[in-house]
Amino acid sequence: MLQLQFFLLLAAALFCIGIYGLITSRNAVRVLMSIELMLNAVNLNLMAFSNYLDPQTVKGQVFTTFVIAIAAAEAAVGLAIVLAIYRNRDTVDMEQFNLLKW
């Protein structure tokens, strides 16, 4: 039978993959994709808790819906920022976005 721990372990693995991609990737769009991965891991956690610990009043599903809405807004604004930086610096390399670095 499926257990809560399986879903939590899967979500933890997905979150760690997202962190790895967030730190090591150099393409700005791939950084946004890694953020989406991490948000999905959090969603999976919330859904697993909602199903196993609170199956009648499904508050985890409500939270997940909010997170999905906010992730959509984040993706739109993030990609707009990437476009603006690309017009400004003419690259999507994260190593060259160092306007505020010393």
Binding site: C16, Q56, I68, A76, Y86
Partner: protein, 204 residues
């Protein structure tokens, strides 16, 4: 183990394999267009996991919003900033990669230990199932009314903000000079003025 549990276990294994493989592909594949499509695979398998967790409404919302909107938006962004350049190699990049991998593996081990050790108070109630969507609607309009309305305001702000951030700063005042006609065409003969009564076809 009866048939239903077997089906659940098999579909969970398939979906988790698909999801972890696609997620690794998103991070590690060098072509970013493939990464974007693999991200769609992650979202689809996540919707399948939501179905396994008795949440059909959220699975539908996942497919609609993530696969239908966010993934398409990311593909459009890739098309807009598609500059095929090789990034200049950073000295000692492998140290960064190894340190990040170490930190990620350590974080995963920490989380896994926490998950396995903690005695979860698993409820024995029956899952809401098909009535979950009614419960979600009641939550939205009773105790989560303020976050619900704030989310709509936030979406409006994100819409306007994205338009303002992504539009071009400078609109060129005059259009650029018309292109020179190709050299193969003969220069046009200067037109002679015709009287007002003449038809235009007689001009040719």
């Amino acid at each position: 183990m009866n048939l239903a549990e077997g089906v659940q276990v098999v579909s969970f294994s398939l979906l988790s394999l698909m999801m972890l493989g696609s997620a690794l592909g998103v991070v590690l594949v060098s072509n970013i267009v493939y990464s974007a499509f693999l991200l769609g695979g992650v979202f689809i398998s996540m919707a399948g996991l939501y179905l396994l967790l008795n949440a059909d409404f959220v699975a539908t919302a996942q497919v609609l919003i993530y696969v239908g909107a966010v993934n398409v938006l990311i593909l459009f962004a890739i098309m807009l900033v598609n500059k095929r350049q090789d990034f200049a190699p950073v000295p000692r990049a492998w140290i960064r990669r190894a340190a990040t991998g170490l930190v990620c593996v350590g974080l995963f081990l920490l989380l896994a230990t926490m998950v396995v050790v903690t005695p979860w108070a698993v409820s024995t109630q029956v899952a809401a199932g098909n009535s979950a969507i009614v419960a979600i609607g009641k939550h939205f309009f009773n105790d989560f009314l303020l976050p619900f309305e704030l989310a709509s305001v936030l979406l409006l702000m994100a819409l306007i903000g994205a338009v303002i951030l992504a539009r071009r700063e400078l609109i060129p005042e005059q259009p650029t000079a018309p292109a020179q006609p190709p050299a193969l065409m003969l220069p046009e003969r200067p037109r002679e003025l015709v009287s007002a009564g003449a038809s235009r076809s007689a001009q040719k």
